[in-house]
């Protein structure tokens, strides 16, 4: 059997096992609603951070406006589920949010992705602030008060499945023709252009893809928390997503998973420390950045397929040239 099938099966088994593990722990009572809440927050953060990692880690574009795209998804869901308060309405609203986020990402991306580094960060930050200010002033979004009584249409399994789905999409995107093009641009945009890669097109593709997943996370956030306000999607929220990406390792999806989990748990555990919490949190960040500046995992990725292939090569059965 080809290594790719084996690897896919192992990943599927891990996903299903993880699901049953959480399910059992809830049934047994080890996971109470407090921990469940933490898990959902971690899940939403994973969706957000993998999308941002695609933009920052793979295409090398330093975007600081991720919360803006999340807001678009959240508000699309909050508004549509008011009229259509069932599962159909939720998934429809998620789709609408994704499409809106993609369109807005194209509109923002075309002018701003010409910029580099700090300039791009400031421009995307500004764009996300514009989204927030617009939401703050529209009637349909209920202004600064935000929207509440959003029907609770998502529980942890919904989040779990969507984490798996968006991660699968982003990882596969990053390891394909598109992914190679955007990574080439990250490495050297002049050389990338000299080998026939259109930098604008591919930078935009990564940006739009990241925005789409942020909208998915926003939709989940809206129906899980059930209350949203424009202030939930400010610059600090963009930065906290960025922290996950940087901490886990820019360019490592595995690292994003680890960092989102570590930070989520740390955040919850430290709640009993009161105001000291932010100090410890900040110290942990500083320490990791001092001793591991490339993030917890750098660019390392867990690959079950590589594991199989290595074994195959050792036994002389698999043709290593078939890899990638």
């Amino acid at each position: 059997m080809a290594a790719r099938w084996k690897a896919a099966l192992v990943w599927l088994a891990i996903a299903v096992a993880g699901f049953y593990l959480i399910n059992e722990l809830i049934v047994v009572g080890v996971i109470n609603s407090f921990i469940e809440n933490m898990l959902v927050t971690i899940g939403i953060n994973i969706i957000l951070a993998t999308g941002l990692n695609l933009i920052i880690g793979f295409s090398g574009q330093f975007s600081l406006g991720h919360a803006g795209f999340m807001a678009l998804g959240a508000y699309a869901t909050a508004i549509i589920t008011q009229y259509l308060g069932n599962a159909l309405g939720f998934y429809l609203s998620m789709a609408v949010g994704v499409v809106i986020a993609m369109v807005v990402a194209v509109i923002i991306g075309i002018p701003t992705l010409r910029l580099r580094g700090d300039y791009l960060a400031i421009a995307t930050m500004g764009a996300s602030e514009i989204i927030r200010v617009v939401l703050n002033n529209l009637k349909i979004t209920n202004g600064a008060a935000g929207m509440y009584n959003i029907p609770a249409l998502a529980n942890w399994p919904t989040v779990y499945v969507l984490v798996c789905l968006t991660t699968l999409m982003i990882v596969n995107f990053a390891r394909s023709r598109a992914g190679r093009a955007i990574q080439a641009i990250r490495e050297d945009d002049i050389a990338a252009e000299a080998v026939g890669i259109n930098p604008t097109k591919w930078k935009l593709a990564a940006f739009v893809m990241g925005a789409a997943t942020a909208a998915v996370a926003g939709s989940l956030h809206a129906v899980y928390i059930q209350t949203i306000a424009p202030s939930d999607f400010g610059i600090m929220n963009s930065i906290s997503i960025l922290i996950i990406v940087v901490l886990g390792g820019v360019g490592s999806i595995t690292g994003t998973f680890v960092a989102a989990t570590v930070l989520g748990v740390l955040d919850t555990v430290l709640q009993s420390f009161g105001t000291l919490r932010m100090v410890i949190y900040a110290l942990a960040l500083i320490l990791i950045m001092v001793f591991k500046p490339s993030g917890l995992l750098g660019r390392y990725e867990v690959s079950i397929r590589k594991l199989f292939e290595k074994k195959g090569v050792r036994h002389g059965t698999a043709d290593s040239h078939e890899s990638e």
């Binding site: 596969n172 394909s176 190679r180 490495e187 000299a194």
Partner: protein
């Protein structure tokens, strides 16, 4: 048949005439060298030919199967798609990608992949990847890079990096390849290997080669025709023998006692 024709090409940087009124042509299958002292405008000329900087005036035309087209106003990636590949004076590899991925990235314009086939790993994706993977393997073998295929390109020795860069340019499936000082920093042994490699580009890949080089023994050995630039102007054109005897070239560049 002239594959690439340059007519009256000029580039001004402010008050400086980096390249002025250059006329040249490159025939199909030819190996043309561009020589001249530092600052003569060789790389500027390369940059104009590959679309990196727009010329101030003049024309660049490429003969294709469907007719003659002007290269002016084309972006570098469009020029690359038209079949003009290049290497850089200071090596520009995708340093953190493996050698294999460097080559794969250079092939992206030679095939398309459906977005949904990509993200859901449909059979069409594997079919495409197998095809492109076979192209890459063949290229790796041709350039003797199979052993280092999975190393990050940035960690390889200098001479190997040069070879990867030439392989990457070849991966775009070009008609003309522009090599900007490929022998710079190489020892005589590596230069000899490079000479063989350039020969291979012409025989095995049927490429037309345009070369900027300061290593005169290399140039005089392999070039069929030489253009000499000095202070932005073309001062001579001819076979290696003619160029070596040209008084203007000897005075401005080669100096007295060079017998390559």
């Amino acid at each position: 048949m002239a594959l690439l024709t340059v007519t009256n090409l000029s580039k001004k940087f402010g008050g400086l005439d980096a390249v002025s009124n250059v006329d040249m042509h490159v025939d199909d299958g030819e190996l043309v060298a561009l020589i001249g002292p530092n600052g003569a405008g060789k790389t500027t000329l390369f940059n104009m030919l590959t679309g990196v900087i727009p010329p101030t005036s003049g024309k660049i035309t490429l003969t294709t199967a469907t007719g003659t087209i002007s290269l002016l106003g084309h972006k570098p990636y469009q020029v690359a798609k038209l079949g003009l590949a290049r290497t850089f004076q200071n090596i520009r590899l995708f340093a953190n990608l493996s050698v294999r991925d460097n080559l794969l990235a250079a092939m992206t314009h030679r095939y398309t992949e459906n977005f949904f086939a990509e993200i859901f790993r449909l059979p069409a994706y594997y079919k495409k990847e197998a095809k492109v993977g076979a192209w890459t393997d063949a290229l790796l073998r041709e350039f003797d890079l199979t052993d280092v295929a999975d190393y990050d390109a940035g960690n390889l020795p200098y001479g190997t990096q040069r070879r990867v860069e030439i392989a990457r340019a070849t991966a775009t499936s070009p008609r003309i390849i522009f090599l900007d000082e490929p022998a710079a920093g190489m020892n005589p042994e590596e230069t000899a290997a490079l000479m063989k490699l350039i020969g291979k580009l012409r025989t095995d890949f049927q490429l037309t080669v345009v070369l900027i080089e300061h290593d005169m023994s290399l140039v005089m050995n392999i070039a069929e025709r030489i253009y000499v630039l000095n202070q932005g102007k073309l001062i001579a054109e001819g076979t290696p023998n003619e160029i070596q005897k040209d008084q203007a070239v000897v005075d401005s560049y080669l100096g007295g006692g060079v017998h390559a």
